[in-house]
């Protein structure tokens, strides 16, 4: 772990937000699974919107709908799921910053999140203007989906990191 990250983890661990997160997760009945379900439901919105648009762009589903209209209609759903993902995930990171910042899968997840967001923004931007489904739209459809699958897999494997990075 790099020094700035270590510093950040330490600062978070000493913050009032850390104490509040720990306290809520411990005392509010069922809060951990409820927050995780909020996180999962937001993943469902992101995956649902992107997969269905991808299938349309690739010509594999919803032939009766206009790709450009779909793109404009689905984009707000994808983007509005992101703040919910951020908040529902942040409470766990705040509660145990050291655990997450030292976890290689956590780093991989956020490294994949950058291309996932960029490719999704590009996909929506290209598809909202035309029903023609150009080659670039198909490439963005496939790559954005792969990036999101990577983000979800890395997220789930944060808990199983020892299989891939055995502790010394």
């Amino acid at each position: 772990m790099s020094d700035p990250l270590r510093e950040l983890a330490r600062a978070l661990a000493n913050s009032g937000a850390h104490d509040a997160a720990v306290d809520w997760l411990r005392t509010v009945p069922g809060l951990p699974p409820i927050m995780q379900t909020l996180h999962l439901a937001s993943i469902a919105v992101v995956l649902g919107t992107i997969v269905v648009l991808d299938l349309r762009v690739l010509g594999l589903a919803v032939p009766s709908q206009s790709p450009a209209e779909m793109s404009r209609r689905l984009a707000p759903w994808t983007w509005s799921a992101l703040p919910v993902l951020l908040v529902s995930g942040a409470i766990f990171v705040l509660a145990r910053p050291q655990r997450y910042f030292t976890n290689p899968m956590f780093g991989i997840k956020f490294a994949l999140l950058v291309p996932a967001l960029a490719l999704t923004a590009a996909l929506y931007s290209v598809t909202r203007r035309t029903d023609a489904r150009p080659a670039i739209a198909r490439v963005l459809a496939v790559t954005s989906l792969l990036a999101w699958i990577g983000v979800v897999l890395a997220g789930r494997w944060i808990a199983y990191v020892d299989y891939l990075f055995p502790p010394e």
């Binding site: 469902a44 919105v45 995956l47 919107t49 269905v52 299989y163």
Partner: protein, 160 residues
Amino acid sequence: MAEFWSWVEMLPLSARIGESWWFPLLESIHVLTAMFVFGSILFVDLRLLGAAAMQYPAARFTREFLHWTWGAFAIALISGLGMFMTRAGWYVTNRAFQAKLVLLALAALNMALFHFLGQRDIDRWDAAARTSKAARIAGAASLFCWLGVTLAGRWTGHLS
């Protein structure tokens, strides 16, 4: 019945999954496919509630992607069974897992009721600005069931 569950747990495949990275792999596949199932059913629910995609007739809107939902559901079911067999006896007595099965059954019942009874008059409201009362009830019930399935599924792992 307890003997049957311990027999399931003793299967070579159960041990193979439970003692290796197969379990997290199956769990990852389960999360991915189940969340696509939830996300795409959310499309249908919001259309039935009259909250989205009203410019498209409901019946056709649903028909054009639901086979992908079923495909993902099949993969989620198989990966779920793979996880289940590693500790079958524990899962069947887990309250959250029991709740998940009940909610899945209710979701299926809701789907069947709407399919065979609720949409008999679909021609009347299929392209209308407002969906029928039966459609709105079915959409809300489905949303509730699938959110509950997700919560109960996630809660299963929190119980010891």
